[in-house]
């Protein structure tokens, strides 16, 4: 699976978003904007006493962000993209920082005797917001890095390491803030109102959000990219409500609305990511199942193919044994019959050649140089094949009528094309074996059309039953008792490999007609 790294179609980070996902994303952002506009007139309204809701909000934020980060860490363990690792870390940091943020929030945990410095909450909020924004920006910038830049080490250690680092960082930061509170920048005037210095934070955040949005917009590839854009849109709305519409006053309607919208949106995004992960997983399971089925049917096909090959080789081998036995018997006579023994041995030689031809034929079938194509005149190839089959058709009282039009320049593998034509002729001859009430006739026609050549081989045999017609190109399907059932399958795959088509239709009034098309080249290409 190493070579397929970064190309899994089943990961959030690689699967492309479809139309309904895009629509849902746009819908969520639109709904949030509407909600923002609705709450805007009341944004500055103060809601004193609502500190009591802070722990609940923080707990929810912690949970959503930890779950999202867990999902992203899991994604990283497969995808090995550093961008995703950084994003996961950003979520983890933001989630963990929600704890000291809530604990230090003025007037929330006073019953526990916590009355920390005014500035601590603000510093944590700044770290949380900017830290997360930077992780998204880093993701957007790094997400398209090439496979070979990705770490190949075990991802487990990296994940544990980063989690430990973030946890330590959070603890150290919190501790440092608590111990050195008097040195902190003055972000707050009092427990509710911010100092002018604070305005740097939302402004910087908006800048980073917009940059990240722009980067993601231009490089939108995956489902994850799409939903991160939704997250950024939500964060923009949240910061607008909190810091601008809400007048940057804590516990105002705007302040709460921004947080709650942000939380709701983060939850929706998490749910969407989870459900899409599950959907992609289901897709993966289905694809593995169908791959397994395909492999099984390939194995069955290979078994059947080996059986046919074994048959084709066993036949002459058995004749050789029988002929050799006969030869020995003739020599064992009281008066050795040398003449008879000689002709038995001659048949052994003939059978040996036949076995070799079978083996050569199979080797040709699987040869790698079958892609070697040369420009030829298809009509001359057809004539050559017909010449070779002349004796056979005469013996079986089949007359072949040809109507080959001019020169048909095609670029093909001549050996393969001979096999196809030979196969079609042989099938037509076989189809005529049971015809006794009319002359057995095969018509071979060819002509060139628009950019392609058309060859038809028609017989006036019994035709192909309509319920069998769709199966005759299947491997190992044969209407002949001794047929390998490979001829038409190979013929069709050869023709399609050459960019042509092979199909069958009824011949009127009797028999079947096989049609074959191939792309045509300019006449001058023909190699004489």
């Amino acid at each position: 699976m190493i070579e397929a790294q970064g190309q899994h179609p089943f990961l959030l980070s690689t699967a492309s978003p479809n139309r309904s996902q895009r629509r849902l994303a746009v819908g969520i952002v639109a709904a949030l904007m509407a909600a923002m506009l609705l709450s805007a007139p009341f944004a500055r309204l103060s809601l004193p006493g609502t500190e009591i809701l802070i722990p609940a909000y923080a707990a929810a934020a912690l949970l959503v962000e930890l779950l999202t980060s867990a999902l992203l860490f899991a994604l990283f363990s497969i995808d090995r993209s550093r961008a995703i690792l950084i994003l996961a870390t950003g979520y983890l940091l933001s989630g963990l920082l929600a704890i000291p943020w809530a604990l230090s929030f003025p007037g929330v945990f006073t019953t526990l005797g916590l009355e920390p410095n005014l500035q601590i909450t603000a510093v944590i909020a700044a770290a949380r917001r900017l830290g997360f924004a930077l992780s998204v920006l880093a993701f957007a910038l790094m997400k398209d890095e090439k496979d070979w830049d990705r770490p190949r080490k075990a991802s487990g250690h990296a994940i544990v390491g980063w989690i430990a680092l973030v946890a330590t960082l959070t603890s150290v930061l919190t501790l440092a803030l608590a111990l050195r509170a008097e040195n902190l920048p003055a972000f707050m005037l009092n427990t509710r109102e911010v100092a002018p210095l604070w305005h740097v934070v939302p402004a910087a955040s908006v800048g980073i959000y917009l940059t990240s949005l722009a980067v993601l917009w231009t490089r939108l590839r995956s489902t994850l990219d799409l939903w991160l854009m939704v997250v950024l849109g939500t964060l923009l709305i949240e910061i607008l409500l909190i810091s601008y519409l809400g007048g940057a006053t804590r516990l105002s309607v705007g302040w709460w609305a921004g947080r709650l919208f942000g939380l709701a949106s983060a939850s929706v995004v998490l749910l969407v990511l989870l459900s899409e992960t599950t959907a992609l997983h289901a897709q993966l399971v289905r694809s593995i199942r169908s791959e397994r089925l395909a492999r099984e049917s390939r194995l069955t096909a290979m078994e059947a193919l080996s059986a046919s090959i074994a048959h084709e080789i066993n036949q002459p081998l058995a004749s050789m044994v029988t002929n050799a036995s006969a030869g020995l018997r003739w020599l064992d006579n009281d008066v050795p019959r040398v003449g008879e023994a000689r002709s038995a041995l001659e048949r052994v030689v003939r059978d040996g050649h036949r076995a070799r031809n079978v083996v050569n034929g199979i080797r040709n079938l699987f040869r790698t140089d079958t892609r070697e194509r040369v420009p030829i005149d298809l009509n001359r190839l057809i004539e050559g094949v017909l010449l070779r089959t002349e004796e056979e058709t005469r013996l079986r009282r089949v007359s072949i009528r040809t109507h080959l039009e001019g020169a048909l320049p095609v670029t093909v593998n001549p050996m393969q094309m001979e096999q196809v034509i030979l196969n079609l002729i042989a099938n037509a001859v076989d189809a005529l074996s049971s015809v006794t009430d009319r002359p057995r006739i095969i018509k071979v026609r060819s002509r060139s059309g628009e950019g392609e050549v058309l060859v038809t081989v028609e017989d006036n045999g019994l035709g192909i039953a309509s319920d069998l017609r769709h199966r005759i190109f299947d491997p190992f399907f044969s209407t002949k008792p001794e047929g390998m059932g490979m001829g038409l399958m190979f013929s069709r795959s050869i023709i399609e490999d050459h960019g042509g088509r092979l199909w069958v239709a009824d011949n009127i009034p009797h028999g079947a007609v096989f049609h074959l098309t191939l792309p045509c080249n300019a006449v001058s290409d023909i190699r004489r």
């Binding site: 048959h311 066993n314 036949q315 058995a318 004749s319 044994v321 036995s325 006969a326």
Partner: protein, 144 residues
Amino acid sequence: MIFRGFIRSQMVGDLLIAIVDDDESARDATVDLVKALGFAAAGFDSAAALLRSEDLHKMDCLITDVRMPGMGGFELHRDLAASGFTIPTILMTAYPEDRIRPQALGEGIKCYIAKPLEADELLSCILSAVDHAEGPVGKGSQRR
């Protein structure tokens, strides 16, 4: 020699054996082996060719392949039996199946043998087939 001392040795050369196989080289080989074993033999490329033959009634024994286009060996045997004309029949096949053998013997087939043919096995098959045949053996067959 193989046939020396055998009761029927003086009649062996008079027996005419039909060989039906669609594969030309296999048919030629079998015909020659049967001749080398001392019988007269005639080859046919299909069941239909044998059934059409004027010499059908002169045959003392039939050796036929099982799998052939059109009519197979089994059907040929049944066809002959149904027309009331029974020739001692030997089935030969490149794909012997143990579950087919009892069925074949049950239908009155004398022997069910595997290809490639072993000379001794084929000989004993022919001899036991014609020996068990009903009626006089070698009815009016012609020397070839």
